[in-house]
Amino acid sequence: MTATTPASETEALPDKGAKKRDIEIIRVKDYTTEVVTDSGEGAQKCSQIFASVSAKSGNGVWSVEIIPAEIQPPARTPASASGNRIRIATEAVTNWGDSANLVMAFNEQVLLARHRMDALAEDAVILIEDMWKNHDDPDIRKEWEEAMEEMSHRSYQFVLVPMEEECLKIVENPRKGKNMFALGILAWIYSRDLAKIREIIAELFKRKSKEIYDNNVALLDLGYKWADENLDFKIDIPTIESEVPRVVMNGNQAIGFGAIAAGMELCSMYPITPATSASHHLGDIIEKFGGIVHQAEDEIAAVGVAIGASFAGKVAFTITSGPGLALKTEFIGLAIMTEMPLVVVDVQRGGPATGLPTKVEQGDLLASIFGQPGDAPHVVFAPATMEECFLCMTTARRIAEAFRCVVMVLTDANLATGQQPFPRPDLKSEWMAAPPDLMAVPEGTLPYDWDSQLGLSQRVIPGQPGGMHVVTGLSHDENSKIGYSPEVHERGCQMRARKMAVFQQTLKRPEVHGDDSGDLLVVGWGSTWGAIEEAVDRARDDGLKVSSLQLRFLSPLEPGLKDIFSKFKKVMTVEISYSDDPNDPFITDENRRRGQLSWLLRAQTLVDVDCWTRVPGQPLRPMNILQAIRDHMPNGVKK
């Protein structure tokens, strides 16, 4: 194999009785692998294990799922492509990178899907099942040839792998086993520890029979052996010994763990992709912690139950995605009106309507902030990594409690299904909600005893003698008595808004990545953080005066933005939400629909914030952001 890689060397392996080969060791610091199969062939499991064992080996890892929209799309079609991208590096990885360097493909059609997405590097190494090339069915042979023809303009390096043939040695139905065979090959190529892989398989299959485990391990070993006898290259991604213990998980698991670490005991939800897997994980473990996942009859009831539980004591949370958020709107308004602490997690997907259920988008930003009729001030923030997904739940709960408010946490399908290793959180009892305080309060304690300056008031819960009151979604006074007078309504609105202003004052001025001044400032939020900073770093390496700013708190916005923006010639947002391209037909400065963050920042700062956004249903790639940065550099500066 000839590969143009940063460093490569060869070593002669001792003769194992087969044939003597020179094995090329390709040493790289950053390498991206994809496993793509027909839906249902187990690519996710193979990739999960591979990502996990790579993280355990000490590498930085970021994995992203490639998910078809249907459960069983027609096999051997580009629509069926299912799998994972696993970016592995010596140092920590913050995003899924640009292109795949090595692909494990179970047929040429799913590979074609990735090719058409421009997901593969020019010189990508492609290990592909060879059974289709000389298949009995002439149509399949033809499809193979046509696919190869379509990809022929690229310098992909194909390695044909007799997966079916090999797997038949162990299982009758290789469709249910190729993934482990492929994992064996990957384990050999990347020199992964087979014992560790077996441990992970044992954990994953702990509820299955011994026979299933044995078959999987046999296939794993077979793949490893096949690679050992047939391949002539290995990839070596050096590791840096981690100084702190780490854990690896996806964002949804992190949200679930984070909720437990925050002492939350009720997750009330209705199944919706891509949020549901958080409740799968939570449902599996939360009962040990005295909590439950309540699957309600619908999205509306899900938030209603959470609000009822919050009213009765501890803070509960609900988890959903865009369509569910829309349905919960009225209840969220009620929680704001009654000042009921509530945490709402929105794992964003493509919209509107059913949109792209399995794919990433940042399209709920404005809906989450402004979606409720009337003035409904509340907190919206967005974690940027899996680690932040874990840690932010405590913060969300604490803010909700302290300010008697709704806190929305926006994640997305990219964080939800991607895996990343991060320092193991050092759990603290202070993160957990204190048990409900049922002590008596003085007779006549007002349910909304607003501090006129701060808008804050003490929460009283059922069970506390002396504090009896009726909360209401109608306009009300300090005593929760319904009042329609201008004084009552205006004061209520003012107090609920005031406490959010007070909260904003506790936020710190965000830090700019790069210089504090320059030609262009790129502003992003949520899961685009890693890709944006990587693109900005490359641009800066090229001498461009560009910096970036990643916002966590979106409502209220972090302080000092106008001042920060003023130090740059131009400010633009990078978002995974729709915006009109100014060069498109009919688009003028007047009618241009902008990226959602850009709307928000323009309104807030009166700065002419531009935007570059895409809605590809997948995370943004650093190289595309880099190109956008070049395209958006102000006139007269280096591009």
Partner: protein, 335 residues
Amino acid sequence: MPSDERIESALEALSGQTKSFRSALANTIEQIRNFQASHGSATEGKVARMKEELGPFATGLIDADKFSALFADSLKLDTLTLETIDKALQTLTELAARGDKLFVVDVAHGESLRDRVAAALEDLGRAFGAARVFEMSKFGRFPDNEHARSLGSFPFHRWSRGERRMAPPLVVSVEGCDLRAAGLAEFMDGLEKLVLVVRDESTPVPLVRLITPGTFVQQTVDPADLNRLASWSGPGIAALVPESAARFVHDPGAGADAGARLTIDSLPEDRRRKPVGGVSVSQQSEELLQLESLAGQMGVKPAAEPVVAGAAASSDPVDKLAAWLLSQADLKNVG
């Protein structure tokens, strides 16, 4: 000594209740510590705590100083009050540190069962006393000369309805000759549960005088039977008796039908009786007659045939029981 194993088994059977009491204890400690952190300590302490409460995500995003200042409590507590709260906390932590030993009482030979149980509950009751002291201190309603008393002891008769529902269970090891259970009636309230682990011989039906409509009462030799006591949502007492004693259960939760609530599993075979610990043969007969009388009134249909030695054959279990009792009791001594 086999009774040690029975104590463990009894604790295991009551583990739902012991865990919930200990968990309430731990939570209360946590709540008081939270209160101290936000009221007692200096500003720096409060800020540091708020920082922890907000978690690492907030570091770099939220100014804990400013956040904490918003929730600075207007409540100003004097030193004496803070000291009192601290004493209450010490009482709770001291009790919590004892683990499962909290729930075990060993009545030495010749000691009064009732007094030892009362003392144990009074001692455990200090947890309720401490919680009350804290609450009163928090609202500044605490007359400062009284706190020592509630923290030093808090007898059962002062426990409120709520406290009795939280009542800690006790496993009491006692010699059969000291088993005078009638005095325990005063503790049968709320969710209080007592298990007596009886050493040596006892009278045949020592617990019969405790049977009232809402009280669970059980005599058994098998600790596995205690799960019924554990699952009953009211007051109850069970004794792990020697083989020579009667085995029965009065379970108010067993159904609406009175007959279903009392089940007699076995009656003593040994005809020879002698006084046990000052309980005369005649008194023992009274116990047995009382059980019979209850069984008759309640229309008991025993789940299992009573193991009756030397009784006249009869199809009606109540008749059987009556016949047997007559054969056992020396009625000439009665009255």
